[in-house]
């Protein structure tokens, strides 16, 4: 028996949705459990099979977070650092990525290999020398010290380079003929065209800064300046631990990235068309 031509696409669509839904379930279970656990009494957290909806709703974990741990202050500290980091990182990485994607220049391959190579030595190998350097450069206990080494990075440059290679040279040349500078061509032509990639990079940059743990601990000494992940990690005691509070903190700490990501959705779908290329 032959299926009708209209049936196949429908079966496929259902299959696609089922597969995506399965993946969605696997991806979101731990997150949903985390939310559930943040609303539980400690003695309800460890159940196997895990439970997601608390028998008894408890909001005390959230209250404690704000009262005992000065959550808001550390939340704002992290937000400030993440916003500044993301803006600088996006700017410098897309600029450098654009240069590698769209120019031929001397030593380009060598410089690019050096850039890639800088990602390859694992962090812990450099930890001791970096610790010394941070003290020598007097970066300790300042936000400049937290931000400075990360305002541009190999990962972001590489990502932007690969994504900007598909920008047609004709568009850039057209802008040059109109008398724009090289930076103008980047800013007015390349940057808008790379919006989907920049949106992804923005989320990643924000996330990296938001979760950064080791470097703030090397640099920052004053507790009032400290970032959220450091405070959250401090709640994980060796000899005593209140899991509910940690889960509440983790959930609230996930919200800014979630909001940023949701607000970027428009940019992800901004596909290129030839119409756009003709500009």
């Amino acid at each position: 028996m032959r299926t009708s031509p209209k049936l196949w696409p429908r079966i496929e669509a259902v299959a696609a949705h089922l597969f995506l839904a399965g993946a969605l379930l696997y991806m979101s279970i731990p997150f949903l459990w985390m939310i559930g656990a943040s609303l539980k009494k400690q003695s309800e957290i460890f159940r196997n099979p895990p439970t997601f909806i608390p028998d008894e709703l408890v909001f005390g974990n959230y209250v404690n977070l704000f009262v005992e741990f000065d959550f808001l202050r550390h939340f704002l500290n992290s937000t400030f650092l993440a916003v500044v980091h993301t803006l600088l990182y996006l700017f410098f990485c897309s600029l450098a990525g654009y240069a590698f994607a769209k120019y031929e220049f001397r030593l380009k391959n060598l410089l690019f290999l050096l850039l890639l190579g800088s990602m390859m030595v694992p962090g812990y190998t450099l930890f001791v020398p970096l610790f010394v350097l941070a003290i020598r450069l007097k970066l300790v206990d300042s936000y400049i010290g937290v931000l400075l080494p990360g305002i541009v990075g190999a990962f972001g440059i590489f990502f932007m380079k690969q994504n900007m290679e598909s920008i047609p040279d004709e568009l850039l040349d057209a802008a040059r003929i109109d008398g724009t500078t090289e930076f103008g061509a980047f800013w007015r032509v390349a940057r808008p065209l790379a919006a989907p990639a920049m949106a992804v990079l923005a989320v990643l940059a924000f996330l990296n800064s938001w979760n950064d743990f080791v470097w703030p601990l090397v640099i920052l000494r004053t507790r009032e300046l400290q970032t959220l992940p450091v405070i959250l990690a401090g709640m994980v005691g060796t000899y005593r631990m209140e899991y509910g509070i940690v889960m509440a903190g983790s959930f609230l700490s996930a919200l800014p990235v979630l909001i940023l990501f949701t607000s970027m959705q428009r940019n992800f779908m901004q596909g290129l068309t030839v119409g756009a290329l003709r500009g």
Binding site: M34, L111, P129
Partner: protein, 302 residues
């Protein structure tokens, strides 16, 4: 007249000059920071890799002895094997799944695209503590979800965290944590393929399979190179999940090179030897990356 020409020439010179100079200016911030923050530590670590030093007190110069010792170090070789297993899993299992998910989400028939995209970044937003608890509960022998699922379909329960299976379990956690990110990279790449190209192909009567191989994949090449290289770097520096799930054990069965580096450097205070592990690791990654660059034809493209 004369002055106008001169100014004109100056402007043209400036215009040519700025065009020549632009790429160097654009990339300079990275290299300035590299010289200030990375070069010194990299050289220091290279020197460390040739000495014996417990973090304090006198240093003994050993030359290449640390590197030579690595080849006879059973735990290092074991961790190298484990890490290779994870890297193969990352590149040949996680990445294709991520690409497939990205293609699905990008497909016209799929609804609720935003929902799926958001769900796929939830793993990187889940706290490590929550994830560890969750997976330890799920891998538990008697009541864990994985075994409950296996038994529901008539299969035997497995000992997920025993020596034989622990690497697979770690890979399942890694898949949970990192598939979504790779999918995002692919999605960004797919977005930069002009839709008109597909329209042209469908007018030509090309099937979906042909379109994927002939159009999508070639146009996705730059992004694929990025994802593969980043996956290789990430999986060879893989650190957190094996440690949290199984402490690198049992009997070092899940230990990665990065775990071993940390153990040797910060637990055993063999700073020199740990640096040698770090540099060998960098060399391995570098060689694999060069092969990728060659494979993807990243050199000599005009």
């Amino acid at each position: 007249m004369h002055s106008i020409t001169q100014q004109h020439i100056r402007e043209r010179l400036w215009y040519r000059y700025q065009r020549r100079l632009a790429p160097y200016l654009f990339i300079s911030p990275f290299y300035i920071l590299f010289v200030v923050f990375a070069l010194g530590p990299l050289i220091a670590a290279l020197y460390f890799s040739m000495i014996k030093w417990p973090g304090t007190g006198p240093m003994t110069f050993l030359g290449l002895a640390n590197y030579l010792e690595l080849f006879e170090d059973e735990i290092f070789l074991k961790s190298l094997g484990n890490t290779t297993y994870y890297a193969i899993g990352a590149v040949f299992v996680i990445l294709p799944v991520a690409l497939f998910l990205a293609l699905l989400i990008n497909a016209a028939v799929v609804r609720a695209k935003s929902l799926f995209r958001i769900a796929f970044i939830l793993p990187v937003l889940t706290s490590t503590v929550a994830a560890t608890i969750m997976f330890l509960l799920m891998f538990e022998h008697q009541y864990g979800l994985f075994n409950v699922a296996l038994e529901a379909v008539g299969l035997n329960a497995l000992k997920w965290l025993d020596e034989e299976l622990v690497k697979l379990s770690v890979l399942l956690v890694a898949a949970w944590r990192y598939t979504g990110l790779s999918m995002l990279y692919f999605l960004a790449g797919l977005q930069s393929i002009p839709t008109d190209v597909y329209e042209a192909a469908s007018v030509d009567g090309a099937g979906r399979w042909t379109t994927f191989w002939q159009i999508t994949l070639p146009l996705l090449r730059p992004v694929s190179l990025f994802v593969v290289v980043v996956s290789i770097i990430g999986s060879f520096q893989f650190f957190a999940e094996p440690l949290l799930l199984a402490g690198g054990g049992p009997n070092n069965a899940s230990l990665t090179i990065a775990n071993y580096l940390y153990r040797v450097g910060f637990s055993y205070l063999r700073m020199g030897y740990a640096s040698a592990v770090g540099y060998i690791l960098a060399v391995i990654i570098f060689i694999l990356t060069l092969l990728q660059l060659k494979f993807f034809g990243a050199f000599g493209r005009s």
